[in-house]
């Protein structure tokens, strides 16, 4: 196994073009586990975690968007400014692994792994994030919903890297909640992200309960008919119904970590709670 540590993004892309089967390495918290476990034996590795081009972020006030470089870590996303700009993503960041994992783990790595349990992904789905991809031949941008095509399956092409992810900066409430067997260091058994967009729409995305992150169009449509934005209010009965509709949109399975029944139940509870947090009155 040979490891290339390129100094620039251009070098990384040309190395990837020369050897498209190379394994890209960012924080290593997924990739090194696979290497240590013998599940992947790459001949060549390209380490992109320290590339300055991928380590930056830009907050564009005019367009109210935030472009986050792929190698920005979850430790960074936990911090103050991100908490203000993208509270749901920042909350999700805080639930990833432990401090040592978050110091290494990157948003781009989470997106590239694209596990339905990836904690950053429900926020990206709820926010309709754009994933920016780059290769030696050029750039393209795809909506997150088109990037994630299945469990750990993406529309990334050979020779491409994730360069950045763009999300809108909304003024409304947003939050992320997850259920797992511990408060830390766990893969979520069910997760939900709720965000109120600038048109007053309630958006809800679910993790760990389907082959991809699930956007709950029916629960979102139901919320539009029952929430009172001026009073920031929703009735408890309507919140319960919101949770029930969200659970009916989940497509969970039984596996070694949980059961479909429990996951559906957890989604109903988490969705109701998030809606009540967003609309605490009434």
């Amino acid at each position: 196994m040979s490891v290339l540590i390129p100094a620039t993004l251009a070098q990384a892309l040309s190395a990837l073009d020369d050897a498209p089967s190379s394994m890209v390495l960012a924080g290593g918290t997924d990739a090194m586990v696979e290497i240590n476990g013998g599940h992947r034996r790459p001949d060549s590795v390209i380490a992109v975690g320290r590339l300055a081009e991928l380590r930056t972020w830009t907050h564009d006030v005019i367009s109210a968007t935030l472009r986050i470089g792929a190698a920005v870590t979850y430790a960074e996303l936990e911090a103050d400014q991100f908490r203000r700009w993208v509270p749901a993503l920042s909350q999700a960041a805080r639930t990833v692994g432990s401090p040592q994992i978050r110091h290494a783990a990157t948003l781009g790595g989470n997106v590239a792994t694209c596990s339905p349990a990836g904690d950053g992904l429900p926020a990206l789905s709820a926010l309709d994030a754009i994933v920016h991809l780059v290769s030696i031949t050029g750039q393209r941008s795809v909506p997150f919903a088109e990037f994630m095509v299945g469990p750990k399956r993406t529309s990334l092409r050979p020779g491409e890297l994730i360069e950045a992810i763009t999300v809108p900066v909304f003024a409304g409430w947003q939050g992320y909640a997850k259920v797992g067997v511990r408060n830390a260091m766990v893969i979520s058994n069910a997760g939900a992200c709720l965000a109120v967009d600038d048109e007053g729409g309630v958006r809800l995305a679910l993790g760990s309960v389907g082959p991809t992150i699930i956007r709950c169009s029916q629960a979102e449509a139901f919320a539009a008919t029952v929430v009172d934005h001026g009073q920031r209010a929703v009735s408890e009965a309507d919140a319960v119904e919101f949770g029930r509709v969200a659970a009916s949109e989940a497509r969970p399975i039984d596996d070694h970590r949980s059961t479909a029944d429990y996951r559906r139940h957890a989604i109903a509870v988490l969705s109701r709670r998030l809606l009540r947090r967003a609309f605490p009155n009434g």
Partner: protein, 156 residues
């Protein structure tokens, strides 16, 4: 194989390493700093925690070649001869260890926290230590030890 230059526990180190070598194995086998323990090699247990440029990381999920030009601190940086570091002294006097396997990782995680130089609630301490598993103590005395260090500070 390639040459790397880094700082380990305050000393300049130059070494020639295989690309595939883990930082944990480099520290233990090449540098003979066997205080850093290797438990799971999956990033879960936290025994291999070291500081990389001051931030706690898993040395088992890091390649030695990735530390070229960087600064590593291991548990051996703490005691001066037989003179225990305040964190080690707090773990000793609060019975924050039994078998000791997890202790190096916990000490390094605590060092990172103590450098922030602020008091923390017990809940916050537990959150910060969540990535270091201990199968002996039940954690209670470890939290006591960390709380004691945060109150008295790092000066010897």
């Amino acid at each position: 194989m390639r040459e790397i230059n880094l700082v380990i526990n305050g000393s300049d180190v130059q070494a020639t390493v295989a690309d595939r070598l883990l930082l944990s194995d480099f520290i233990r086998d090449d540098q003979r700093l066997t205080g850093t323990h290797v438990g799971c090699e999956h990033g879960y247990c936290g025994s291999c925690t070291v500081l990389l440029d001051g931030a706690s990381v898993r040395s088992c999920l890091t390649l030695a070649v990735q530390t070229d030009g960087h600064v590593i601190e291991t548990v051996e940086s703490l005691a001066v001869g037989a003179d225990l570091h305040p964190i080690q002294e707090a773990f000793r006097s609060n019975h924050g260890l039994q078998c000791g396997f997890c202790t190096p990782g916990l000490l390094m995680t605590t060092l990172e926290l103590a450098r922030e130089n602020r008091d923390c609630s017990r809940d916050e301490i537990r959150e910060r230590l969540a990535g270091n598993l201990c199968r002996c103590t039940g954690y209670h005395q470890i939290v006591d030890a960390v709380q004691a260090v945060l109150r008295t500070g790092l000066s010897r």
